[in-house]
């Protein structure tokens, strides 16, 4: 005997016996089961689903979810210095208000008329971000920074007809893994070879001699991050781009957009394709569920025709109104299936709207202020913490908001230091063991505009205590 609902369910308007009977009468069948006639009996479920008990009462469901959530600890009650692809920044309240608007949240595709406002917000995302990154074309978002980089590399491979990318040895391993999958394994005929560029062991910056040695007419693209995964401002961007251009390769730069009130927009130093993360611009960390990525280029048809994303163009109606609609949609997988540019699907478009809100609130002055505040406080923290006995800065290059602390001198592992810090209500930077040899005792430490001098000093005092324990 099937387990049936006892009352109508709040999520289902027609879960009322009289309504179901009326609908069945119109169809002209005796029971709902008759409507499943296409499915052979032997395909049907034989045993119950064995699901946990239903909680149709919001009262009880709320209690259950809340009981679980209360087992979490947050970066609000603790002081966190964890970064590395997901960062704690200030999120203006207006961003949350718009992110939660029911119309935006429930929009699916719509048309340029029915969902005009949403389409305009998408266009404004591209427009505002375009000003920040210095590009005339910005695609609608992809899933993450790693995806943005991977798609950009694939764009470069199609543009150049070459199948090799050079990228930094010190790239984020998570991002690299996403890129590796998009570059395909060796067995695939369309595999893109990944060659790592070494780094200067003192500064942490790219080793340009190594880059030059590895560049050739087989290279489709040179990819690098600025700031880098380990927080360093790559000071020789123009030289890197010039080297790539000399060999006919595209330059792809991954950039943290919150740095761009104070750092040069990548095309200024020669980037052809700009990619990066969306999360810093008004999106909460969301336990990692705040990530998203963008792709931007010059407005040239050869680039535009390689985008795997949705593209929204402005237009005017005959009634002198603004309108916004898809452009070049046919080149996507929706138009061409396997012949399309990679693939297109649901992405993180609601975050694009939040990015637009954030950049509109910030304006040019807000972006400058936040950039200055971050770079000053991060540098203060780097110096203050590296002054602690047994703690050192791993690299001497200029930093923006993250830096690498080496705990080797304390004789303690990163895990042991962080465990100690937690007793002070502090989440220390994440260990960099995944980066390989030479990084076992290192921690990537993140300081943003939300960290006051007092917070940093508190971290320093706790670290002094833990280093000496």
């Amino acid at each position: 005997m099937k387990n049936r609902l006892e009352t109508a369910h709040p999520y289902m308007a027609n879960s009322v016996p009289a309504i179901k009977e009326a609908m069945l009468r119109v169809i002209g069948v005796a029971g709902i089961e008759d409507l499943f006639e296409q499915i052979p009996a032997e395909h049907r479920l034989k045993s119950p689903l064995d699901l946990p008990p239903a909680l149709p009462s919001e009262n009880e469901l709320r209690r259950h979810v809340l009981e679980n959530l209360r087992r979490n600890e947050t970066c609000e009650e603790n002081l966190s210095f964890i970064g590395g692809g997901c960062w704690q920044h200030h999120v203006p309240a207006v961003c949350d208000e718009i992110a939660g608007r029911a119309e935006m949240m429930t929009s699916v595709w719509g048309t340029p008329y029915s969902d005009h406002g949403r389409s305009q917000a998408w266009f404004e995302f591209a427009s505002l971000l375009g000003e920040l990154v210095g590009c005339e074309v910005v695609g609608q978002p992809v899933y993450s920074w790693g995806y943005a980089a991977g798609h950009a590399i694939r764009m470069a491979a199609r543009l150049t007809g070459r199948r090799q990318v050079l990228l930094p040895r010190l790239i984020d391993p998570e991002r690299l893994s996403v890129i590796r999958n998009l570059c395909e394994p060796l067995e695939m005929a369309s595999h893109i070879e990944i060659v790592e560029i070494g780094f200067n062991d003192e500064t942490g910056l790219l080793d340009l001699a190594d880059l030059e040695a590895k560049l050739s007419d087989r290279t489709a693209a040179v990819y690098f991050d600025c700031p880098s995964h380990l927080g360093l401002i790559e000071s020789r961007g123009a030289e890197i781009a010039a080297l790539a251009r000399r060999h006919g390769a595209e330059t792809i730069v991954g950039v943290d957009p919150i740095s761009l009130g104070v750092l040069a927009a990548p095309p200024v130093y020669g980037a052809d394709i700009v990619v990066g993360p969306m999360q810093p611009l008004g999106i909460h960390m969301n336990t990692g569920g705040g990530v998203g990525g963008f792709i931007a280029t010059r407005d040239e048809a050869r680039y535009v025709h390689e985008y795997p994303t949705l593209l929204i163009s402005a237009a005017r109606t005959p009634h002198d109104e603004w309108a916004f609609a898809l452009s070049c949609a046919h080149q996507t997988s929706y138009g061409l299936r396997e012949e399309g540019k990679d693939w297109t699907g649901n992405s993180v478009n609601n975050w694009a709207i939040v990015n637009a809100v954030y950049l509109a609130l910030m304006g040019p002055e807000g972006m400058r202020e936040v950039g200055e505040l971050i770079v000053q406080r991060a540098n203060y923290a780097a110096r203050r913490l590296a002054g602690i006995d047994g703690v050192a800065l791993r690299f001497s290059g200029p930093v923006f908001k993250e830096f690498v602390l080496d705990y080797a001198g304390t004789g303690k592992s990163v895990a042991a230091v962080n465990e100690g810090l937690r007793r002070h209500g502090i989440f220390g930077g994440r260990g960099l063991g995944e980066m390989g040899s030479g990084f076992e005792s290192c921690a990537l430490t993140c300081v943003t505009e939300i960290h006051s001098q007092a917070d940093i000093d508190r971290f320093a005092e706790a670290l002094v205590a833990e280093a000496a324990r």
Binding site: A22, R101, A102, T111, V137, Y143, S235, A265, V291, V348
Partner: protein, 522 residues
Amino acid sequence: MTEATKQSKLRRYHAARWDEPVIHEMGHPGRRGAVFSQAEEGVRAAVGDAADLIPEAMRRREAPALPEMDEYDVLRHFIHLSQQTLGMMGISLFGTCTMKYNSRLMEGLTARPEVRAVHPHQDEDTMQGTLAMIHGLDRILRALSGMDRFVFQAGGGADAAYTHCCVTRAYHASRGELEQRDEIVTTIQTHPCNAATAATAGFKVVTLMIEENGYPSLDALKAAVSNRTAALMINDPDDMGVYNPEIREWVRIVHEAGGLCFYDHANFNGVMGKLRARELGFDACMYMLHKTFGAPKGNGPAVGAYGCTEALAPFLPSPLVVEDEGRYRLDRDRPQSVGKIREFWGNVPVILKAYAWARAMGEAGIDEASDLSVLANNYMEKGLLAIPGVTKSQPHLTQRRLEMTRYSVGKLQEETGIGIFDIANRMVDFGIDAPWLAHEPWLVPEPFTPEAGELWSKEDIDQWIAVLAEVAREAREEPETVKTAPHNQVVHAFDPAPLEDPDHWAMTWRAWQRKHRKGKHD
């Protein structure tokens, strides 16, 4: 006219029309929407000016040309834009997307710091509540599918299809057969993301066409599979509502050839609680948490939950959430894993919303929902086919369709010259979201595909049908009204064709200014 349409009075809707400027046209020099304090004196004393901390060559010289607005103007602008967005505020029966109620409880709970202000690299001990619920959803999806393990890293349904392609590569590579197995078989009625992700992953794509029965024949499948077959990627039912009853035989044939079988369960709503992917023989499947499992769409953030058998589990992306005697942890020590599909471990708020939806529904609720979805679709069919000029795909297939049916206004177009795009543009004048049409290539002329699901009331469905009946009447009696639609929307009709022209398109304000500033809109 059916009884339903007679009873349903058309609403006199009009969209909000704010004549809202593009944001770059707004603001005034000097206005501020967000301010930050200067760094503390101690900080400045220690490190000096920000400019001196940045290598000269990398300093920004020219401020970004962002608008300068006060906080309220920004709020108001985006509220206006949201008011100019229909979303689900009218009636949206957008086929293949399974429009559902998105519980406001979970919007509220996932806005709490226990979700928002958590970093995915925190110590596992500080995330036990979230991990417990992720594991709970894994268990629920295992029960629904018969699979052994789920992962939530994929950022959407297409990304879950891509996950399958990556797992397929790793599986065949582990057996030394990847070079040989370079083909993925799919069908023309399977979502294009399957073909597209297979191609992106480096496979050749073999696409089978549907035949007389509404699905490709076993003979066509047998001719397509070989020792080059890496996998089958298929949905069932398809988005015409046709269920392939030979699916078990399909799986057997592909397995016999050495390929894996992936069940794209995007169209799960009509069969959830009715059948299990694993019991049909599939090795893997995926569910869209932002569709079937009640989380909002908004074109993402989304989650494609990917599940597979024990045999494929070692290849799943890392990390996986595992339970050890009541404690949850993230297992990263998985040497055969494909690594990362996407950074971190999924859009956590979406996963939690899906968990709560499944708990709110329970077994009886899920069973009721698939019942109601199929009931609503068959109820709709009665009303829609009563409209002159509307036909359904494959009319010779007489068995009841599942949760969706593909219709055509090809006949109406022949008779009136009014096609589905005109009709869609007119329907939005009544507060009805434009219907889903069909993926390319169109297999029936002038298609549309509504999906009522379990959310929308009988009254909503009646209203939807009544609106289409009214637009079809207009097509015959006052065609200009339809051809020049919309009339009650935010903006009027325009020609999108120039947006394909590089000299005309403008994806940013900068590009617009360069290309059109000297035009008449200056």
